[in-house]
Amino acid sequence: MPGSFVPAVVSRRRYQILGIIALAALVGAELLGLSASPPDRDMGHLQKIMYVHVPAAWSAFLAFFVVFIGSVLYLWKREERYDLLAAAAAEVALVLTALTLALGSIWGRPTWGVWWTWDPRLTTTAILLVMTVGYLALRSFVDEPDRRARWSAAVGILASLNVLVVYKSVQWWRTLHQVQSSPSTVDPAYALGLRLNALAFLLVLVYFILLRYRAARLERLVEAQAEARELAQGEELHV
């Protein structure tokens, strides 16, 4: 039995409790953020989108960090749980990154007048999304668990490295072309709301990764059972 981060006694019901707490925290933080924030001088009420967009982006990047750590630890220790953790975090990161990009678009349209701009952060996030799709596609195409773990860990580490390089290169690309930078210095009036919403998103992130990690472990168990059954049937045939 491979080691796990979460003991088997943690039932789905306990996960559900965590999920309810996380979503309730999100409701509370959003209500507080929405009611307590005065209209921004430049953006008016549109500033309120910050409370979902920025926390979504932060938790997405945190999820990518988990993918990176899981990949490094797997190649170092060769324990399956690190691979499964990286896989779980990657799928959650994909969902949150897609959400971040969509929210950024919804925010950008009324403030900048465009759905998309070639700003370093936006572009890097989009590339990150594509690399995550590649990572998950690779995982789904390789059946052998050991191979899948090694290959996806290598791909995960290189992709993480690439994030920094893409960000830097797009930054140089844009500054050489002299175009606007993105608007984001947070006024103290919005800081508390932002912190609370970030905390609520962090809970949601933990909940998602734990749930997805458990699913990954159960999938491996189902796979192992199927292999054992096939083996047993094979032996029966030979006897």
Partner: protein, 228 residues
């Protein structure tokens, strides 16, 4: 022990791949024709206006190299996978990374040869001045191609052994190529325009840095990818 022998192994792998390529030639010819075709298609897509063509030429040229070159990488492992030769290659004593270097050199020669044919053709089709910026342009092509081929050789080691290899290789490779593509296109564009702002030097330095980063990363990651 050590370096001379590894260098010999690298040369042997590269020589073997290039000889195989030279014997068949079919793959190389097909890739060159495809590259020429893509250049034509970009011409149609951009319209016949000489100014517009010249302005977009650097991007079109590099995308042509990417789209045609990507076909070569999977091929360089597939031949061995079909004949079971990769297992034999891995059984030899010594560092597996010399396989990576050998294949990298073979792929580099392959793509550079494609470029040697594509570049004059692009110059004709897109009305480009080739001789004036030539030494710098050749340097940019070499550096950009090294970055492209390094990552291509690495990802093909994975993708060529996977069910959906035709889709997976570009899906994994192209996002990684964004920094290299960006720097290569900017440097090429600046050089083709006569470099009035003197910005090509900065991009060439960046290209060199990217090459080093990606080479080191994939060189060390290769060990984990190739082992059985």
């Amino acid at each position: 022990m050590g370096l001379p022998r590894e260098a010999g192994r690298v040369a042997a792998v590269a020589w073997k791949d290039l000889t195989a390529e030279r014997r068949t030639k079919a793959n190389f010819n097909a890739v060159v024709f495809l590259a020429a075709l893509i250049l034509f298609l970009f011409g149609f897509a951009l319209g016949p206006d000489a100014e517009a063509l010249r302005a977009a030429a650097a991007g079109a040229l590099w995308l042509t190299v990417l789209f045609s070159g990507v076909l070569a990488f999977n091929h360089s492992y597939q031949v061995e996978l079909e004949s079971g030769a990769l297992e034999a290659l891995l059984l030899y004593p010594g560092d597996h990374r010399s396989i990576f270097l050998g294949k990298l050199i073979a792929n580099l020669v392959f793509v550079l040869l494609v470029e040697a044919i594509v570049l004059p053709l692009a110059a004709v089709l897109y009305h480009l001045p080739l001789l004036r910026p030539f030494p710098g342009l050749a340097g940019v092509l070499l550096l950009g191609t090294v970055g492209f081929v390094t990552l291509g050789t690495f990802y093909a080691a994975i993708a060529s052994r996977v069910r959906a290899r035709e889709v997976l290789l570009p899906l994994l490779l192209f996002p990684m190529l964004v920094p290299v593509l960006l720097a290569a296109v900017e440097a090429t564009g600046a050089l083709l325009a006569g470099d009035p702002m003197k910005e090509s030097g900065g991009w060439i330095r960046l290209l060199l840095i990217f090459d080093v980063i990606f080479f080191v990363a994939s060189f060390f990651a290769f060990e984990y990818v190739i082992e059985e």
